[in-house]
C-alpha cells in the first residue's frame, strides 16, 4: 500500500505546531496502525530526522496507552484501540490525517503525545476502595446477581484511554468517570463509599476543566470497549443522591 500521512508535529507544549506530510510505500495491509508508524519512524531516523512521538505500550488493546485521532475519529474508523487497528481498514493511495487528542485537560507534550494525568488525579480523588478487602473470596460467599456482576464487569473494561474525551464535542470526561464510579458502586466492596466517591470524582473532573455532557453519545460510539451511556445516567443518579443525602454541607 502507498499512503500519504498528514501528521501533527509539535516540538513541545508551547510550540504552535502544524501538520507535516509524509509519503509511505510498501505498507502491508496486515500491519497494525502503530507498525505502520514504526516504519515511518525508521525512515525518519535513518534520514536523521526527529521521529514522530506517539503513545503506545501493550499493543494488545488492553492497556489504554495508545491514542491518536485518525481521519476524524479517535482510534480511527473501527471501534477498537489504535494498536488493534489494521491497515486493511484503509485503501491504497489513502491520505490519513493523524492528530493528537484535543482537550485543554489533555495538554500536548510532543507531537501526538498528550498528558492524560488528569485521569489519574480523578482516580486518586476517589476511584478506589479505602480498606484492604483481602484476597479473592470464595465463589458465592458474597451473593451478587449475575446481571450486576456483568454490568460491573462491563464498566470495569474501561481502559482509560481518553477516546471519550477526544470524541466528545465538549471534551467531556463523563463516560470515563461514570464507568469508574459504576464499577465500584455496583459491587459490595465499593458500594459502601459510593456517595462520597461520586461527589469527589465529579468535583475533580470539574477542577480538571473537562466539559459538560450533551448526551450526543459520541463517547460511547467511539469507545474501544463500548462503555454504555447508562453509566453516565448512573453517575448522575449517584451524584444527585449523594448531594441530597450526605451530611457534609
Amino acid at each position: 500500500m502507498n499512503l500519504t500521512l498528514k501528521v501533527w508535529r509539535q516540538k513541545n507544549p508551547s510550540d504552535k505546531g502544524g501538520f507535516k506530510d509524509y509519503t509511505l510505500s510498501g505498507i502491508s495491509s496486515d500491519m497494525s496502525f502503530l507498525e505502520m508508524l514504526d516504519v515511518l519512524n525508521e525512515d525518519l531516523s535513518e534520514k536523521g530526522d526527529d521521529p514522530v512521538h506517539f503513545d503506545h505500550d501493550c499493543r494488545e488493546g488492553i492497556c489504554g496507552m495508545c491514542s491518536l485521532y485518525i481521519n476524524g475519529q479517535p482510534h480511527g474508523p473501527t471501534q477498537t484501540t489504535t494498536c488493534q487497528l489494521h491497515m486493511r481498514s484503509f485503501k491504497d493511495g489513502d491520505t490519513i490525517t493523524i492528530e493528537p487528542w484535543r482537550a485543554s485537560s489533555f495538554p500536548i507534550i510532543k507531537d501526538l503525545v498528550v498528558d492524560r494525568s488528569s485521569f489519574d488525579r480523578i482516580i486518586q480523588s476517589g476511584g478506589y476502595v479505602s480498606v484492604n478487602t483481602g484476597g479473592v473470596p470464595d465463589a458465592n460467599e458474597i451473593p451478587i446477581p449475575k446481571i450486576i456482576a456483568d454490568e460491573a464487569f462491563d464498566s470495569a473494561t474501561c481502559i482509560g484511554c481518553g477516546a471519550c474525551v477526544a470524541a466528545c464535542k465538549n471534551a467531556s470526561a463523563m463516560l470515563f468517570v461514570s464507568a469508574k464510579i459504576s464499577q465500584l458502586a455496583l459491587l459490595p466492596q465499593g458500594k459502601v463509599e459510593k456517595r462520597g466517591r461520586a461527589e469527589k470524582m465529579v468535583a475533580q473532573m470539574d477542577d480538571e476543566g473537562f466539559g459538560a455532557c450533551t448526551n450526543t453519545g459520541a463517547c460511547s460510539a467511539e469507545c474501544p470497549k463500548g462503555i454504555d451511556l447508562s453509566n453516565i445516567a448512573r453517575m448522575n443518579r449517584e451524584y444527585f443522591a449523594a448531594s441530597l443525602s450526605t451530611e457534609e454541607h
Binding site: K6, F19, Y69, N71, G72, Q73, P77, T97, E99, R102, A103, S104, S105, A167, K169, N170, A171, S172, M174, V202, A203, M205, D206, G209, F210, G211, A212, C213, T214, N215, T216, G217, A218, A221, E222, L229, S230, I232, A233, R234, M235, N236, R237, Y239, F240, S243, E248, H249
Partner: protein, 227 residues
C-alpha cells in the same frame, strides 16, 4: 459555598437545570398547543377568545406564566454558560472530524437550534403577547359578555405569507431541538433503563414530530382560510 450551590454549579448540576427546565417547557408546549388548536375550530374564534380570556384572568395561570418566562430565561442562560465552558474545554478543534459517524446532527446542534428558537420566541412575543398586553385589541361580545378579540389579532398576523413561513420554519427548528432534547433530559436525570429508555426515545421522537407539526399546521390553515 452551600451544598445546593455547589451541586448546581457542577457540570452535572448545570445539566440538571437544563433538563428540569427543558421538561417544564415540553409540558408547556402541550398546554400551549391544546389552546392553539382552538384557533382552527369552525366557530369564528369564539372558543379561542373565551379560552384566551380565561387564561389571562386566572391567577394560577398567571403564576405559571411567570414561572414559564423564568424557566425559558434560565434554560437559555445556562445553555450559554455551558457552551462557554465546553468551548474552553476544547480551545483547539480537529482539522478533520467525522462527528456524523458517532452522533446525530441535532444532538450536536442544540446550541444553534436553541438560539433560533429564542429568536422565534422574541418575534412571537412581540407579535402576540405584547400586542395583547399593550396594543389596541378589538372587543367582541358573546352572549352579552365582552371579550378581547385575540382571534382577530392572530388571524390578521397569519395573512402575511412571510410570517407564516417564519413560523413553519421555526417549528422545524423546534422539531430538531426536541428530537434530541426530550430523551436527553431523561438521561441527565439519571433515567436510563433497558426497559424504558427505548420507549422514552421513541416517545421523544414522536413528540418532536407531532407537536411542532400541529403547531405549524395552524398558521397554514388560517392562511388558506383567509385568502
Amino acid at each position: 459555598m452551600s451544598w445546593v450551590s455547589k451541586t448546581l454549579n457542577s457540570t452535572l448540576g448545570k445539566k440538571l437545570i437544563m433538563a428540569l427546565t427543558g421538561i417544564f417547557l415540553i409540558l408547556f408546549l402541550v398546554v400551549h398547543l391544546a389552546g392553539n388548536l382552538q384557533l382552527i375550530l369552525p366557530d369564528d374564534g369564539k372558543s379561542f377568545n373565551v379560552y384566551a380570556e380565561t387564561m389571562a384572568s386566572n391567577p394560577l395561570i398567571r403564576i405559571v406564566s411567570i414561572l414559564n418566562f423564568g424557566f425559558i430565561l434560565l434554560h437559555a442562560v445556562y445553555a450559554a454558560i455551558l457552551t462557554r465552558h465546553n468551548k474552553k474545554s476544547r480551545p483547539i478543534g480537529y482539522a478533520v472530524s467525522k462527528a456524523s459517524e458517532n452522533s446525530s446532527w441535532s444532538s450536536r446542534s442544540m446550541g444553534i437550534l436553541g438560539t433560533l428558537i429564542l429568536i422565534f420566541l422574541l418575534v412571537h412575543l412581540r407579535g402576540f403577547w405584547y400586542e395583547l398586553k399593550f396594543g389596541e385589541v378589538p372587543i367582541v361580545t358573546y352572549d352579552g359578555v365582552s371579550y378581547k378579540d385575540t382571534f382577530a389579532i392572530v388571524s390578521a398576523a397569519y395573512q402575511n405569507i412571510f410570517y407564516v413561513i417564519f413560523y413553519v420554519v421555526s417549528m422545524g427548528v423546534l422539531a430538531f431541538h426536541l428530537a434530541h432534547g426530550f430523551s436527553s433530559a431523561f438521561q441527565t436525570l439519571g433515567i436510563n433503563h433497558k426497559k424504558y429508555t427505548p420507549f422514552i426515545k421513541k416517545l421523544g421522537l414522536a413528540f418532536a414530530i407531532i407537536v411542532p407539526a400541529l403547531f405549524a399546521l395552524i398558521p397554514i390553515i388560517m392562511f388558506i382560510q383567509g385568502s
